[in-house]
């Protein structure tokens, strides 16, 4: 999906905001993600090696959660590549949120290149136990 939306953005014949769009057109890698549900919240674990806390951007816009991170490597001057599997300078991935997520309460932390996003459900969607009354 990322690829598709990026291509569409590039096809629009607008040149005025091309500058603002520039970082978006840089090639990005899709980071691998685990998503699971626990404790009335969804948890996302995203691998973004080389991304520092300052280089990580997490946004919710119009019910779409987007994660972007720039890879920061310590590279000496004049280095040339002899082999590479990581060929982009950033990670990017987007997800559509479902309505039961409380987008105000989303929290994230990054530790050793792993991003953990907690997406709590709204109170009205919490799991409830229903008492069965004796007849």
């Amino acid at each position: 999906m990322n690829e598709v939306s990026r291509q569409q953005a590039g096809q629009q014949p607008q040149t005025t905001d091309q500058q603002a769009r520039e970082p978006q057109t840089e090639p990005a890698m899709l980071p691998p993600v685990d998503i699971f549900e626990a404790d009335n919240a969804l948890h996302m674990i995203v691998d973004m090696p080389g991304v520092t806390r300052d280089a990580l951007r997490i946004e919710v816009d119009n019910n779409v959660l987007s994660l972007e991170g720039d890879i920061q490597l310590d590279m000496p001057e004049g280095m040339s590549a002899i082999y590479a599997e990581v060929r982009a300078q950033r990670f990017a991935r987007r997800f559509t949120l479902s309505h039961e997520i409380d987008s105000e309460a989303i929290a994230a932390r990054i530790d050793n290149g792993v991003v953990h996003v907690t997406l709590p459900k709204k109170q009205s969607h919490h799991r409830r136990r229903i008492e069965v009354q004796a007849a």
Partner: protein, 152 residues
């Protein structure tokens, strides 16, 4: 950075890797593959760069503590070995239902061939933000040397 690597790139970006993998499975390469080559997207990914006096290996091992990774060099073959715990055990709490599971877990071993003439005794490695950097200096006699031209 590794941006200039794109000239080494032979295909589109990694976003279409599932398609490439599917095609690789359907039409296995008829030619000879590098004996240590791995499918794209293996964990951890590795980049290697070269400067005049050293070779640097970047191991993109997100979520791996420095002590959980074992790096060894023998005859110019670098071996990276380790184990990554499952994501769920990082979270305290009860039952978890997975919707998506793309990150690998468990043991892994990767080997890469390095150029000749590296001084493994002076190698250094450090871990930062989920990337392990291994610095391997070249042996003195292999460093580029400037040759003075004498006037006749």
């Amino acid at each position: 950075m590794f941006g200039d690597l794109r000239r080494f790139d032979t295909g589109p970006s990694r976003g279409v890797d599932w398609f490439r993998q599917l095609m690789d499975e359907m039409f296995p390469e008829s030619g000879a593959a590098d004996i240590r080559s791995v499918p794209r997207g293996s964990y951890p990914m590795i980049n290697i760069g070269r400067t005049d006096d050293a070779v640097r290996v970047y191991v993109f091992a997100a979520g791996l503590a420095a002590e959980a990774l074992d790096v060894s060099i023998q005859d110019n073959v670098l071996t990276v070995r380790g184990e990554r715990p499952q994501a769920r055990s990082e979270i305290e709490g009860g039952e978890a239902a997975y919707f998506r599971r793309e990150r690998g877990s468990g043991e892994f071993v990767r080997t890469v061939a390095l150029p000749d003439g590296l001084d493994a005794d002076r190698a250094e490695a450090r871990c930062r933000n989920g990337v392990v950097e291994i610095h391997l200096p070249k042996r003195e006699e292999l460093k580029p040397r400037r040759i003075d031209i004498q006037a006749a």
